[in-house]
C-alpha cells in the first residue's frame, strides 16, 4: 500500500552512512551489572533484534546507544564517529518507546512535526512531509486527533512516523508492541518490517517475544543477565542454539541428558538407549563425557506402535502421556522409559493418538545437536 517513499528521505538514500559498531559496552546499576561486554556490528540497513527475558540488559543497551544512559565503559560508533561524546539530542537516532511517549497536548500531526520544528525546518517543508509520513504509516486520516483519541496500534504508528520524521541514521525500537494485543502485534510488526525494508534504515529492535524477533529480524542477539549468549540469523539461532539457555529460550527443545559413547562414530547413550548423532556434533568432546542432546519436537516423528513407523536413525518405543492442541500442530508428551520427550505432529494427525497409547518415535541423527552438559547457565 501507499508508500510515498520518493519524498521520504532516509539514511540509505542520502549521503550519510549508518553503520553501527558497539564495542565492549558495560553498564552497572548500584554495583549490579546490567550489560557486560556487549559487542555488535550492524551493517547499514540491517534489522537486528535484541532478544531476552526481562532484566537481561537489552533495553539498557538500547538506552546507552540513544544517549539516555551513560555506559561505564565501551564505545558506540556510528559510521566513523564515536557518538558517546555527543549529547542525546545530537545523536540523530530515532527512538520508538514501549509506552509510545506521544506528547498528549499535540495532535498526531503535531507529534510528527515536533522534530522537524525543533530542527528549524521551513513551514512549507513541514506541511509537505508530515502528511507523507502519516501516510507511510497508514494514518493520514487521523492527523488532527490527539493521542487519547487513538488506539494503541495507531499511537504506536504515530510514534514510528515521529521517529522517522527526523531522518534518523539508526532507528531504535524499545519493545514497541508489548502493550498491544496479539492480533495488532502481528500486523504492526509486519508493518514495521515493511517500512524498515522500504526505507533501508538500520534498525535495532528490543523484544522479549522470540516469535516476534525470529519473524522480522535479519539477525537476533540473544541476551541473558547482561551477557550476549548468541548472535545469528533467526534460522541459525533456532536450529543451532549456542548455549543451553538459547536452546530453552528459543522455541521448545528436548534436552536429553546423555553420555558420549563414541566420539568417532557419533554415538551417545541416553539411559538404556543408544542415539546416533552427527559425528561432527561430538567433535571436541571425549568418550564418557556428559552431554545434552538437543532435538526440536517438530524433528521427531511419531506413529502408533502397530502402524508403519516414522523414519530416522533413532527409533524408540514410547507411551503417550498427554495430547495438547496448539492450533496447527498438536504436541505429544511422550514417556520413554521414565523420561519425557516432546514431539509435534500435525493437527490433522491428532486423532491417531490418545493418552496411554503405545507409539514409536524416530528422529534422524542430523536433527540432533550435542552440547557439553555444563551447569545451568552454560558457557559464555
Amino acid at each position: 500500500m501507499l508508500l510515498p517513499l520518493s519524498a521520504v528521505r532516509c539514511a540509505s538514500h542520502g549521503e550519510r552512512v549508518g553503520y553501527v559498531e558497539l564495542k565492549g559496552l558495560n553498564k552497572s546499576f548500584a554495583g549490579k551489572p546490567a550489560v557486560r561486554d556487549f559487542r555488535l556490528s550492524m551493517e547499514q540497513g540491517e534489522f537486528v533484534s535484541l532478544l531476552g527475558p526481562s532484566g537481561c540488559g537489552k533495553s539498557t543497551t538500547l538506552r546507552m546507544i540513544a544517549g539516555f544512559e551513560e555506559p561505564d565503559s565501551g564505545e558506540v560508533w556510528l559510521g566513523d564517529q564515536n557518538v558517546l561524546d555527543l549529547p542525546a539530542h545530537r545523536r540523530g537516532m530515532g527512538m520508538v518507546f514501549q509506552s509510545y511517549a506521544l506528547f498528549p497536548h499535540l495532535t498526531a500531526w503535531g507529534n510528527v512535526a515536533f522534530g522537524l520544528r525543533i530542527a528549524g525546518r521551513a513551514a512549507g517543508e513541514i506541511r509537505r512531509r508530515v502528511p507523507e509520513l502519516l501516510e507511510l504509516v497508514g494514518l493520514r486520516e487521523v492527523a488532527g486527533q490527539y493521542p487519547r483519541q487513538l488506539s494503541g496500534g495507531q499511537q504506536q504508528r504515530v510514534a514510528l512516523a515521529r521517529a522517522l520524521a527526523i531522518e534518523p541514521r539508526v532507528l531504535l525500537l524499545d519493545e514497541p508492541l508489548s502493550a498491544l494485543d496479539a492480533v495488532v502485534r502481528v500486523t504492526l510488526r509486519e508493518e514495521i518490517r515493511r517500512i524498515q525494508s522500504a526505507l533501508g534504515i538500520t534498525t535495532l529492535y528490543v523484544t522479549h517475544d522470540q516469535e516476534e524477533a525470529l519473524a522480522i529480524s535479519d539477525r537476533v542477539v540473544v541476551m541473558r543477565d547482561g551477557w550476549v549468549e548468541q548472535v545469528g540469523t533467526p534460522e541459525a539461532v533456532y536450529a543451532e542454539p549456542a548455549t543451553r539457555f538459547v536452546a530453552s529460550f528459543i522455541g521448545k527443545m528436548n534436552q536429553l541428558s546423555a553420555v558420549v559413547e563414541s566420539v568417532r562414530e557419533g554415538r551417545v547413550r541416553w539411559g538404556e538407549h543408544r542415539l546416533a548423532v552427527p559425528p561432527a556434533a561430538t567433535a571436541g568432546l571425549a568418550d564418557g563425557q556428559a552431554v545434552l542432546v538437543l532435538v526440536r519436537p517438530e524433528a521427531i516423528g511419531v506413529a502408533p506402535a502397530d502402524a508403519e513407523g516414522p523414519t530416522g536413525e533413532n527409533r524408540l518405543p514410547a507411551t503417550v502421556e498427554l495430547v495438547t492442541f496448539l492450533g496447527p500442530v498438536t504436541r505429544l508428551s511422550l514417556e520413554v522409559r521414565g523420561r519425557q520427550v516432546l514431539a509435534d505432529v500435525t493437527t490433522g494427525d491428532r486423532g491417531r493418538f490418545q493418552r496411554g497409547m503405545p507409539v514409536q518415535l524416530a528422529f534422524p541423527a542430523a536433527a540432533c545437536r550435542v552440547q557439553a552438559d555444563e551447569p545451568a547457565g552454560g558457557p559464555r
Binding site: 518507546f97 525543533i118 521517529a163
Partner: protein
C-alpha cells in the same frame, strides 16, 4: 417490598445526612441569607446596596485585593513550581518527604499567628530587622512590614507552600519518556520545557493560579492583624462594616461579600474546568 439493593442505597443516603445538615447550616443557609440581605433595602428588593458597593473607596478596595491576590498568586505559582520541581528531583527520599511535610504545615499556617510571626521577625523591632541593623543594613523606613509589600511577603509565605502541594502531583505526572522522546527528536532542555513540559502543565499551573488567587482574595485575619485598616482590602472593608468601626452597615457588607463570592466562584469554576482538560499531567 423494597429490594436489598434499594435498602442499601437508602441507608447510604442516610449516612450522608450529617454532611448535608452541616452543608445546609454552614454553607447554603449563610449564602442564602447573604443573598437576601444584599438585595434587600427596607422591606423590598433593591440593587441599592450594590450601588453603594461601588463607591471610589470600595472600588479601590477591590482593586487592591485583586492586585495583591494576582501578585501573590503569581509569585506562588512561579516559586512553588520551581521548589516543587526541586523537591521531586531531590535524590534523597528524606529530603523529598521532609520538604513536602513542611509545605503541608506552612500552607496551613496563616491568620493572626502568621502576622504575629512576621511582626516579631520583620517588624520595626523584629529579630531579623535588628540583626540586619546591627550588620549595617537598615530595612526601615524604606521597607515596612505593615504595608502592601509586607502583606505580599506574608501572603507568599502560605501561597508558595500551597502551590508546592498543588503542583507536585502534576510534576510527578510528567513522564520521563516525554523528556526522552523530546531529546531524542533533537530538543534541548529549554525546548523540552518550552514545547512539551510547560504546555502539558499549563492547565495545572493556570488552575493553581486561580486557586491561589481565590485563597489570597478571601484572606482576612493576616491582613487585619498585620496592617489593620492601613491597607484597603475588600475583606477588611467587610469586617469594618460588620463591626461598625466607622459605620455599621451589614447590608453593604453582604453586598461586598456577594461580589467577592462571585470572584471566588469564577476562580473555582475556572480551576475545575482546567482540571478536567484532557492533556493535564496526572500522577
Amino acid at each position: 417490598m423494597s429490594s436489598p439493593r434499594r435498602r442499601l442505597r437508602r441507608a447510604a443516603w442516610l449516612a450522608l445526612a450529617p454532611f448535608f445538615v452541616f452543608g445546609l447550616a454552614f454553607e447554603i443557609l449563610p449564602v442564602l441569607t447573604l443573598v437576601r440581605s444584599s438585595f434587600t433595602v427596607g422591606d423590598g428588593w433593591s440593587l441599592a446596596n450594590f450601588g453603594r458597593a461601588f463607591t471610589p473607596m470600595m472600588v479601590a478596595s477591590f482593586r487592591n485585593s485583586l492586585q495583591l491576590s494576582a501578585v501573590t498568586a503569581l509569585l506562588g505559582v512561579v516559586g512553588g513550581t520551581v521548589v516543587g520541581y526541586a523537591i521531586i528531583t531531590a535524590r534523597s527520599r528524606f529530603v523529598r518527604e521532609s520538604l513536602t511535610a513542611l509545605a503541608d504545615v506552612t500552607a496551613n499556617f496563616g491568620g493572626a499567628p502568621l502576622a504575629f510571626a512576621f511582626i516579631i521577625t520583620l517588624g520595626s523591632t523584629g529579630v531579623i530587622t535588628l540583626l540586619l541593623k546591627a550588620a549595617g543594613v537598615s530595612l526601615y523606613p524604606r521597607f515596612r512590614i505593615y504595608s502592601v509589600s509586607g502583606l505580599t511577603i506574608a501572603y507568599v509565605y502560605f501561597q508558595l507552600p500551597l502551590m508546592i502541594l498543588l503542583v507536585v502531583p502534576a510534576l510527578l505526572g510528567l513522564r520521563q519518556e516525554w523528556r526522552e522522546a523530546a531529546v531524542n527528536l533533537g530538543a534541548t532542555r529549554a525546548q523540552y520545557w518550552g514545547r512539551v513540559a510547560l504546555p502539558i502543565l499549563a492547565p495545572s499551573l493556570l488552575g493553581s493560579f486561580l486557586l491561589l488567587f481565590a485563597n489570597a482574595f478571601g484572606a482576612y485575619a493576616t491582613a487585619w492583624t498585620l496592617t489593620g485598616p492601613d491597607v484597603n482590602l475588600v475583606t477588611v472593608q467587610i469586617a469594618a462594616l460588620v463591626r461598625g468601626e466607622v459605620q455599621l452597615d451589614p447590608a453593604l457588607a453582604d453586598a461586598l461579600a456577594l461580589v467577592s463570592l462571585g470572584v471566588m466562584a469564577v476562580c473555582v469554576a475556572g480551576y475545575r474546568w482546567l482540571a478536567t482538560r484532557p492533556w493535564r499531567a496526572a500522577p
